[in-house]
């Protein structure tokens, strides 16, 4: 018999040759056999699981506060587990907010006693287990694909409802989420789901994204356990980034929502930025399928602008590869939307003060100036306008290198004329007009460098 809680414990009785298990709650026998057995297994699993941070923490708490009063209650294995608590668990316990500790068994008991989750009475453990089986069946592609598909959708709906609450139930208690996430980590199901996203049906894909986003946001104090988990399994991120590949266009948008959620966390954004997969985005944002390209672009933009210091560091270290090799191609893209969006993003990146070193480098290269001057006279007025916002940085630079200065001087009068007639109808945009006047003044006053 293992002691778990003041009121709940599981008894194992040997009845003849058959092993019977019962779950005892407040001195009443609630369940024999299967259900009690499952909760017992679940508890054992929790104790043995090597990554179960928070639940183990609470169990440890329980075990420590009570062992003296119930010394005979704990089996030797359980005691060993207790004595082997690594220091990390104590840290977890400290970081966890003070609240009623709920044990794994209590959760299971609650789930089994009351049909909390609508029709389904499955506990998180069972749900995760049967979803995993369904996914494996889908992956192996047996003849029972349809059955697997159906099981898969059913379990995904149950898990989603468990996390979000269905339309007539409240969102769930923390411990249900805790146990569910724990199971998801231990079973490696997140990766499995993402790898098989294209095999899951339309609604299922959306549910995967919803489940993922909810679990990702999970917090214990200042820690985000799911983020920590994904850091140890970066394949999840790489697989998600591969979701934009042409092979399965139907999963692109679902992968996109999950990726943007991940990009909110600096640790995950760092892994993504520094991966080889990141440079594939230059291809993804350029496809002519509008929805996929614009989704990919918003992810791309999120990665490059969300965490300023991280991005500045990244752009600085990868300047040549990023700007000369790849970004240049976006600016010359056939795709109008891509060209315009990337030009706008370029302006934002250069004008961000975190990216100062990158900007200085960019505006000292004459090739870039030429490109912007050509874009100033593009057909599209919006591209002209965005190009203006990059072009102004070249002119406003107080220490123009010689090649830049030469180009500007060579075109001095043309530029003054051009800018004077440039977008004259934007009379209500004060900032634009001020900047334009400033640029004209600067260009007029340009003087060649004194001969050294």
């Amino acid at each position: 018999m293992i002691y778990i809680d003041r009121s709940i414990y599981i008894q194992q009785i040997l009845l003849g040759k058959r092993k019977k298990t019962k779950l005892i709650y407040n001195n009443r026998i609630l369940y024999r056999d299967n259900i009690a057995k499952r909760s017992y297994l679940c508890l054992q699993h929790q104790q043995l699981g090597n990554e179960s941070h928070d639940l183990k923490g609470t169990t440890a708490n329980e075990s420590k506060s009570k062992p003296a009063s119930q010394p005979a209650a704990a089996t030797t294995t359980a005691q060993q587990k207790v004595s082997q608590q690594p220091p990390q668990k104590i840290r977890d316990r400290v970081s966890q907010p003070e609240k009623e500790p709920k044990t794994a068994a209590a959760t299971v008991a609650a789930a089994s006693i009351m049909p909390l989750f609508g029709k389904s009475q499955k506990s998180p453990v069972e749900l995760v287990k049967s979803l995993k089986e369904a996914i494996n069946a889908l992956e192996s592609g047996d003849r029972k694909v349809e059955k697997a598909q159906e099981d898969c959708s059913k379990n995904l709906v149950s898990i989603k409802n468990m996390l979000y609450g269905s339309s007539d139930t409240e969102p769930p208690a923390d411990y249900v989420v805790a146990q569910l996430s724990q199971e998801l980590y231990n079973s490696n199901l997140l990766l499995l789901l993402i790898q098989n996203l294209h095999r899951i049906d339309f609604e299922g894909k959306k549910h995967v994204a919803l489940i993922f986003n909810n679990v990702l946001r999970r917090q214990i104090g200042t820690r985000s356990p799911t983020v920590e988990y994904i850091c140890t399994k970066p394949e999840i991120l790489f697989t998600l980034m591969g979701g934009y590949e042409d092979a399965h266009p139907e999963i692109a948008l679902n992968s996109g929502t999950m990726l943007r959620e991940c990009a909110r966390y600096e640790a995950l954004a760092k892994i993504m930025l520094h991966s080889d997969e990141f440079f594939k985005f230059f291809r993804y944002v350029e496809v002519s399928t509008f929805d996929i390209a614009s989704d990919a672009f918003s992810t791309f933009k999120e990665l490059l602008t969300r965490h300023k210091l991280l991005c500045a560091e990244f752009l600085d270290a990868n300047y040549d590869k990023f700007f000369s090799a790849h970004y240049q191609r976006l600016l010359n893209s056939e795709n109008y939307v891509t060209r315009r969006q990337s030009l706008k993003l370029l302006g934002e990146l250069l004008l961000d003060r975190h990216n100062f070193t990158v900007m200085t480098r960019y505006i000292s290269e004459p090739e870039n100036l030429k490109l912007m001057m050509n874009m100033l006279k593009e057909k599209s007025r919006n591209i002209q306008f965005e190009a203006f916002h990059v072009f102004k940085v070249f002119v406003a630079n107080p220490n123009k290198p010689k090649p830049i200065l030469d180009i500007l001087l060579r075109n001095q009068t043309k530029l003054v004329d051009f800018l004077t007639n440039f977008h004259t109808d934007r009379s209500e945009d004060e900032q634009f007009n001020d900047e334009k006047a400033y640029l004209i003044k600067q260009i007029k006053e340009l003087k060649p460098l004194p001969e050294a």
Binding site: Y164, S167, R217, L253, T289, F290, E378, K379, N411
Partner: protein, 341 residues
């Protein structure tokens, strides 16, 4: 799968040419499938382009037989093309203006709303609100009604959590205000839920039965106070003949026909349930599906009814077969300026 090249589509006729974009009836040459193509210029301000992206992503959220699906979407030159399936009778507002000028027959309304309700159950079960239900958002195909226009739809799911109520203003939705539920008009702290869609359903039923929208010519404040007081617009039939209540209409519907017909008690009751000013008392879409108003749908279908009315594709001539005007690119050419590098 559809191709990303506009030359693979044969544009037949213009269905609508608005400020937002042009809608064409077209054939996809590779499969000879009849589709509707919406052509939107992206040579617009940045925030409008963002809005287009959002709209497209919203269209991609749903897959249901009674929801208009976006088949494909691609960029070609300065335009975004959105490909939708062709729905033969177009939207119900156009039908009301051109064919059913004094309203749809009751049985057709029941059939249409049965389809719309099943779409609504689907949307609500995914924690979304449609937000702009009106006859214009309902398309009628040969054998089913289709819900479209998800531009104003909103989700309860926000940052990985589900909100219980939504808050929001009605700014920029002026054209839909007549259909808007009172709890949205309040804009107070208790917010609104998916029940607000049911109120819009009620107003839309009224619109479909009488042939015009309520509060058409009234002041916004009048419309608002009437809704808040719970003064319901009523169906105009025999029972409303004696009543001298305000009819919220442009010419008080003098047509003798309107006063001779009778709408069933079920229909009247159904309208009252939808237009309940207290959202908690309003039925959910799921429950409303079981209302006895929809009983009459049992032995009938939209196809049968339309046949019975001698209403077929040929009589639907309001889709003008105008010659296509060439997409004009009136952009000033600045290529004459030559930089010397």
């Amino acid at each position: 799968m559809f191709s990303n090249n506009i030359s693979d589509y044969k544009l037949n006729s213009t269905i609508k040419a608005g400020t937002f974009g042009t809608v064409y009836k077209a054939n996809y040459l590779n499969s000879n499938k009849c589709v509707v193509i919406k052509q939107i210029s992206v040579e617009q301000q940045a925030d409008k382009v963002t809005r287009i992206c959002e709209d497209v992503l919203k269209c991609r959220q749903f897959k249901h037989t009674n929801i208009n699906s976006l088949l494909h979407c691609f960029v070609d030159k300065n335009y975004v093309y959105m490909v939708f399936p062709f729905v033969c009778f177009g939207n119900c507002q156009t039908l009301l203006e051109n064919v059913f000028t004094s309203g749809f027959p009751e049985i057709l309304i029941a059939l249409i709303f049965k389809d719309i309700m099943s779409a609504l159950v689907y949307i609500h079960s995914h924690h979304f609100i449609h937000g702009s239900l009106r006859a214009k958002s309902i398309l009628l195909d040969r054998n089913k009604a289709i819900l479209s226009n998800f531009r104003d739809s909103r989700s309860f799911i926000n940052q990985g959590k589900r909100d219980q109520v939504l808050y929001g203003s009605t700014v920029g939705k002026a054209e839909n205000l007549n259909w808007t539920a009172p709890e949205i008009l309040y804009q107070n702290l208790s917010g609104y839920t998916e029940k607000s869609d049911l109120y819009s359903i009620g107003i839309t039923s009224y619109e479909m039965a009488n042939g015009f929208q309520p509060f058409l010519d009234s002041e916004l404040t009048f419309m608002c106070t009437e809704k808040i007081r719970g003064n319901l617009p009523s169906l105009s039939d025999k029972s409303s003949q004696g009543l001298s209540s305000v009819n919220y209409s442009r010419e008080a519907v003098p047509s003798a026909m309107n006063n001779q017909r009778t709408f069933s008690d079920d229909f009247h009751q159904y309208m009252e349930i939808c237009l309940n000013k207290n959202p908690t008392c309003r039925w959910s879409a799921h429950k409303l599906m079981t209302h006895s108003f929809f009983k009459q749908c049992r032995n009938s279908s939209i196809l049968d009814q339309l046949k019975g009315l001698n209403f077929d594709l040929q009589s639907c001539t309001y889709i003008k077969d105008e010659p296509l005007r060439a997409a004009s690119a009136n952009v000033k050419h600045l290529e004459d300026v030559k930089w010397c590098f």
